[in-house]
Amino acid sequence: MRRVVITGTGSISALGNSMDELLNSIENRVCGTQQMPEWDKYKGLQSLVGAPVTLPDIKTIPRKMRRSMGRMSLLTVFAANEALKSAKIEHDAITNERYGCVAGSTMGSAEALNDTFETMLPDHDLSLLSSMSFFKCISHTVSMNLAHYLGITGCVMATSAACASSLQAMGTGFELIRYNKQDLVLCGGAEELHPTVTGSFDILFATSTKFNDNPENTPRPFDKNRDGLVCGEGAGILVLEELEHAKKRGAKILAEVVGYNTCGSGSHVSQPDREAMIQCMNSALMDASIKPEKIDFVSAHATATLQGDTEEAAAIFEVFGSKTPVNSLKGYIGHTLGASGAIELAASIEMMNKNTIYPTLNLDDVDDKCSMIYHVKTKLKKDIKFILKNCFAFGGINASIICKKYE
């Protein structure tokens, strides 16, 4: 099997349009959650907070590339530009049948889907629909637009598994390179903040609703007073590359991907299942051929839902016991859903390389049901060699990935 390394990272989130801005904000314990006053008009929507992105100037993307991009694809392009820059790869060097992209999202652009139906349904009239509606609404809009923008001619694939989408993309890219199908794959995902997206969690009572007047105090992963997730938006793209390919071009290697697993819970569409989580993490460890005690830091999925955090804490305890540090980044950037795996893995790799684990924001009082694991509550300096990142999605789709410091 070939070895796979990460040579570039890029992100855009409520905490800025670059990895540096994201890490600086995390270092300074900034919460990206804001009030969303314009959501008042939606009857029944209880959660009026979100973690929105301030988009850079979209006209830097040529019109004919941009016209098919909904918000999530625009976000992806900005993250990909940063990832390629950090990997020191020029745009015009990416067109090669051995270079691909795998990027996912929960669904197509929520804004475009909404606009399409608002245009079409009042009079059941299709004549006012833009030619671009389809390209913005389709489930592979992120990977399709990224491939078009960069001129990618290798494997182009979309992973659509809600909150596990981008971690599945990472794992798929890892396997494509590992098994000699591709040499370089841009992997990641995106999601956009929209009242219909928050609403889909809100009607299931999974959103945070008690902090509409003090948004900076939510979400609260693992905390006794957590009351649900806060939807964020953003994109994360990582450059995965075969080790020798990276060395040959003199790339700076940020980490090595050593293990991955994705599995179904096979039990319930929304209720988290600790046994499936345990299986997922254990299978990733087996794939990496390492024992649990080798993992120095777990980046949890932990979205601050009552049940999800409890199940994940129990699963992490079962696999790692109480001595492996665990954090969740959702308190900083909200739940970026299909983007969360990639953004949080990129941030966790930075932490690994700085031998620093940042704390879970808004974790003031650990819930008794989550207290059996080692929560990082203040900045922790530690020699880190292996990290594990989890994503556990609605629909019972689980994914765990393991990265190793490259030395």
């Binding site: 004919k64 016209r67 006012l128 833009s130 030619s131 671009m132």
Partner: protein, 82 residues
């Protein structure tokens, strides 16, 4: 009225296709000079329908339009027919 139609057509090209005002000359070819393609034409039709409150999606005359001048003549014909 005639100038107004041309101004409104130019607005469509500026707003929908980000074309600079100085490039919007009557003789400009919509495809070769202004860079529109077949997908843009679908959106051009949608934008013109909205702008002029007309129904042109299935009008065969659209296929013969090449320049901005052709387009303004077509819209004027439509307006005179209604």
């Amino acid at each position: 009225m005639s100038d107004q139609i041309e101004t409104m057509i130019n607005e469509v090209f500026e707003e929908s296709f980000e074309i600079e005002k100085e490039d919007l000359k009557p003789e400009a070819n919509i495809f070769e000079d202004l860079g529109l393609d077949s997908l843009d034409v679908v959106d051009l039709v949608v934008a013109l329908q909205k702008k002029f409150s007309v129904e042109i999606r299935t009008d065969e005359r659209i296929k013969d339009i090449r320049t901005l001048e052709d387009l303004s003549k077509f819209i004027k014909e439509l307006k005179s027919e209604s």
